[in-house]
């Protein structure tokens, strides 16, 4: 500390003195600057967070809330709907994250080749990202309307999809499931994954592309000179170097997939049957469809715990500590 004071240049010292002499308001300026933000975050983020936890231990009887201990949790975790929904969510997340990450990696690798039109391509690829998820759901829904949707001739083609073609809005998932997971999923689940991935792809592509740009060209070139082929350079040089970004993207996608609801709302509404009823939609159904607030709150606490774990992992991987400095 002492050394730092000695190093500090004269102008800075004068400036600091000015701030110090500036009266109470100027001395506590950072506090006043932060106050509105902290108040808003307390009201809209922290208070509802704790309110949800409180709600999860309550049950409404008439106009009053009664403390029921862990009964909401017991009932939600014990319900078949929850167990099925966890299965749907796992299948959805695995498919969605795998499709998005793979596609984003391929596109980013192609775009990283310093093409003349890179800027144009990136802009065009990015358009889906600014389209609302509700609209994406409607757009993809219109394409597969039986008989009239523009993709319906392909989907109902018995040669492509034996024995009699498929209908995304109405074909249920085949049973029994494999190992307790709803696999193979209903056609609607594949389609939901496709639509969700379509919207998330631009952001992940941009993230991966930014990481690829930080890979030093000298390392890649020297690997080439040492005789590594394209695949080996990718596998042993490029991928390890961008691994942190891929992991962050993975957590980001999982977080978004867990909590996205607009697309499910307009594309499948959880159907056909319950084939695409992921946890976020189940939360909506229990809370606002059946108005069972206590049980829905227990479910949202469960989702929030997973969210927090994902956030902590993201912060760890992206080495936030260094960035905060």
């Amino acid at each position: 500390m002492a050394t730092q004071a000695q190093i500090t240049s004269t102008p800075t010292r004068t400036a600091n003195r000015r701030i110090r002499q500036g009266g109470f308001f100027n001395q506590t300026l950072p506090f006043w600057l932060l106050l509105p933000t902290l108040l808003i975050l307390a009201a809209i983020q922290f208070y509802p967070g704790f309110y949800s936890i409180w709600l999860s231990f309550q049950e409404r009887q008439g106009a009053v809330w009664n403390f029921v201990g862990l009964r909401n949790f017991e009932r939600i975790f014990g319900s078949a709907a929850f167990r099925e929904s966890v299965g749907h969510t796992v299948v959805f997340l695995v498919g969605y994250v795998a499709v998005t990450l793979t596609a984003a990696l391929v596109i980013a690798l192609l775009l990283n080749r310093r093409l003349k039109l890179s800027g144009v391509y990136i802009t065009l690829i990015f358009i889906p990202w600014v389209i609302a998820d509700v609209i994406v759901g409607l757009v993809f829904g219109l394409l597969v309307v039986p008989d009239y949707g523009l993709l319906s001739p392909i989907l109902s083609n018995p040669t492509l999809f034996p024995p009699k073609g498929i209908s995304i809005p109405s074909d249920p998932a085949p049973r029994p499931w494999i190992a307790g997971l709803p696999f193979p999923p209903a056609p609607a689940m594949y389609y939901l994954i496709l639509a969700t991935a379509w919207r998330a792809l631009p952001f992940v592509t941009l993230l991966v592309l930014a990481a690829l740009k930080t890979v030093p060209q000298e390392i890649v070139e020297s690997a080439r000179i040492d005789g590594a082929n394209g695949w080996q350079t990718l596998r042993f040089i490029t991928l390890p170097l961008i691994l942190p970004t891929l992991v962050v993207a993975l957590f980001n996608l999982t977080l978004g997939g867990m909590n996205g609801i607009g697309l499910v709302f307009t594309l499948t509404r959880g159907g056909p049957g319950t084939a695409t009823e992921v946890l976020s939609f189940l939360l909506y159904t229990i809370g606002f469809g059946r108005l069972e607030f206590g049980r829905a709150a227990a479910l949202s606490v469960f989702i929030a715990v997973i969210n927090l774990a994902l956030i902590v992992l993201t912060l760890r991987v992206s080495r936030t500590e260094e960035r905060v400095a």
Partner: protein, 318 residues
């Protein structure tokens, strides 16, 4: 010393062919990705009888003999007309009143909420970002990590509590309380954390010496913020504004659940509502999709540099 290098001719050939191959691959990918948008555009300009054809046609351009002819194209704006529903009204601006609910009610609400919440985010993120970037105080690191962590928290898990809060506030009979205030506060609360990080990143790039010089010249700290820092950090502040604007524009579930009065609902509710009204009128749904998505797509196309900068700055990156 070197592994086998391609012969000069081989090398030259590769250099010539490779860009073509990669470019065509990228063009195919881009075309595939934009296909849903193109098909929606095509549907939105069809007549009802062309939408309801079996098998469906990509473009309504076939003549009675079934041959494709450009001159036979039947594109109409009927779908758009039914969304907007313009009625002549001598008292209205330009002599036309837009009577479709989407344009008379929902879209103006969305614009209002988006502008007000991103305006607030602009100011508050500016304040907080500046404090984090320039001052060292106790608890600073913990606060910043907390705000970064909140960035990741989605609306979904807080919805029940926010809904209950909205119910309580409505019942409390607070003088001057308006549902619109609550929804704007919710949007600010959810898009502020990421904005604080974006703006702080921009403030960090502005050299301190500039401010110190101004302080020595007799400027007050607030004056320095207003006259020196804000103009220099404008790209970051605008990025936060735009990101919040697009997010609020596109937000559905909070607007749907927290707003009870039909006249205060948003465009995304209007889109969802179309599902229940226009079961057969696919061209109307498509036209509404185009109309509501177009403003933010155009906004993005004009400001894409700001967007990309904000996203790489604000994104939690490795």
């Amino acid at each position: 010393m070197f592994a086998r290098l391609p012969s000069p001719r081989e090398h030259a050939l590769r250099k010539q062919v490779e860009p073509w191959l990669i470019n065509s691959a990228v063009i195919v990918i881009v075309a595939l990705l934009l296909l849903p948008i193109a098909l929606t555009l095509s549907t939105s300009f069809k007549r009802e009888q062309d939408v309801l054809r079996r098998p469906p046609v990509l473009l309504p351009c076939d003549d009675p003999q079934g041959h494709f002819r450009l001159s036979a194209c039947r594109f109409v704006v009927e779908g758009y007309e039914r969304v907007i529903a313009p009625r002549p009204d001598p008292n209205a601006l330009l002599g036309v009143r837009l009577t479709g609910r989407m344009f008379s009610t929902y879209l103006p609400n969305t614009v209002l909420y988006a502008l007000l919440s991103s305006g607030l985010v602009f100011v508050l993120a500016g304040f907080a970002g500046y404090a984090f970037s320039r001052y060292r105080f106790r608890g600073r690191r913990a606060l910043m990590v907390a705000i970064l962590a909140i960035t990741g928290i989605p609306l979904l898990t807080n919805l029940l509590a926010l809904y209950q809060m909205a119910v309580d506030l409505r019942k409390s009979g607070l003088p001057g309380y308006d549902e619109r205030m609550f929804i704007i506060a919710v949007y600010v609360g959810f898009y502020l954390p990421i904005s604080v990080w974006i703006v702080k990143g921009f403030f960090d790039t502005i050299p301190r010496e500039l401010e110190e010089a101004a302080l020595i010249d007799g400027c007050t700290p607030i004056g320095v913020l207003w006259r020196i820092v804000v103009p220099l950090a404008m790209p970051g502040l605008l990025a936060a504004f735009l990101l919040c604007f697009v997010n609020v524009w596109n937000e559905f579930i909070a607007g749907y659940l927290l707003i009870t009065k039909r006249d205060l609902r948003t465009a995304m509710f209007g889109m969802y509502d179309f599902l229940s009204q226009n079961i057969i009128n696919y061209q109307v749904i498509a036209a509404a999709c185009v109309l509501i998505a177009a403003p933010v797509v155009i906004l993005f196309l004009f400001t894409r540099q700001t967007f990309f900068q904000a996203m790489t700055e604000g994104a939690v990156k490795g």
